[in-house]
Symmetry: C2
Subunit: 208 residues, 2 copies
Amino acid sequence: MNAPLWKTPAQRERERALKREAVLRAAARAFSEQGFHRTSLDDVAERLSVTKPTLYHYVRGKDEILFECVRIGLERLDSAAASAEARRSGGSGLDRLIVLWTEYAHIVTEDFGRCLILVGEDPLPAETRKDLRALKGKIDKRFRGLIEAGIADGSIRPCDPKLLAFAAAGALSWIARWHDPAGPLGVDSIADQTIRFFVDGIGAGAAG
Amino acid sequence: MNAPLWKTPAQRERERALKREAVLRAAARAFSEQGFHRTSLDDVAERLSVTKPTLYHYVRGKDEILFECVRIGLERLDSAAASAEARRSGGSGLDRLIVLWTEYAHIVTEDFGRCLILVGEDPLPAETRKDLRALKGKIDKRFRGLIEAGIADGSIRPCDPKLLAFAAAGALSWIARWHDPAGPLGVDSIADQTIRFFVDGIGAGAAG
């Protein structure tokens, strides 16, 4: 059977979504590598071997692209955190946090998460920044809730959940700043060792 | 005795240096609060209640200012690390690291260090970025050396010094992103708790 000459509306919709994601992903890479202000839509078009007018079928401009890149990065963190919350049978609070922190490291070293960490919402107008910051606040809350659950079930020693959430977010987000995807260290191994510093402690007196 | 009518060359030089630092500091604050691209020299002049032409007595333009702000932030980290290296009588490698990490937290939450973390060298032309990155590399080396010394003297459990240096730098630098100087938590307390997560571990199985 030959492929039909005309696509169905559903096929067209799906294709359009895939192309839009390809535009956003190419832009996310360009922003992370060159910086937001140094990246033009022409650069993005060139990375996709299309013309700039083609991009306008999918996005309105650079601000919308950055908003979407940051939003997608945040949505991924949020959905990872929501799954960790829902995973009641996934062991202690600490066990669930370790799984979530590992996912966090992967998300922030992938295209959209990397753009979230390296560029973020700062270049955007105040009004759009507000929406993204609200989403960040929601994610922070989920992390703190999981830490509180770990303290409550005795798997995490009593501490300020806000400070622990930020310390881990900082250590893991930093990977996006220094990790060379072409280098010898894989994200899994980096994430594992970084998380172990927190969980077991580095002092010779801490448990191993 | 009255103040002399004419200043000595040394007095004039000292006054000029103080004024230049005031310009850089006002700019560092503006860059951190508003972003580099959204800050104009007029904004900086306004913060100092002087005119823009006055600024040009001290700096050539925005790029030079950002370069200097980032360089000063890095120099402070470098000199803190150099002191920690020199402090041979300051206890174990881990003890010296704890002192250094505490200083690190203070440096990155002060004007120049904050600008280093929140803005950094990314907006600058490639050639100037290179100089600052060389300085960063030097600082990284000092941190790794101290961690190696701690592993050698048995105060730090064997680990990858590069990964530990980055994990701590990330956790502590992150403070510059979320800490509200007007809020209830002081930098000393935040630094202390953040460093304790690493040193003692958060797991209930870790030593307390």
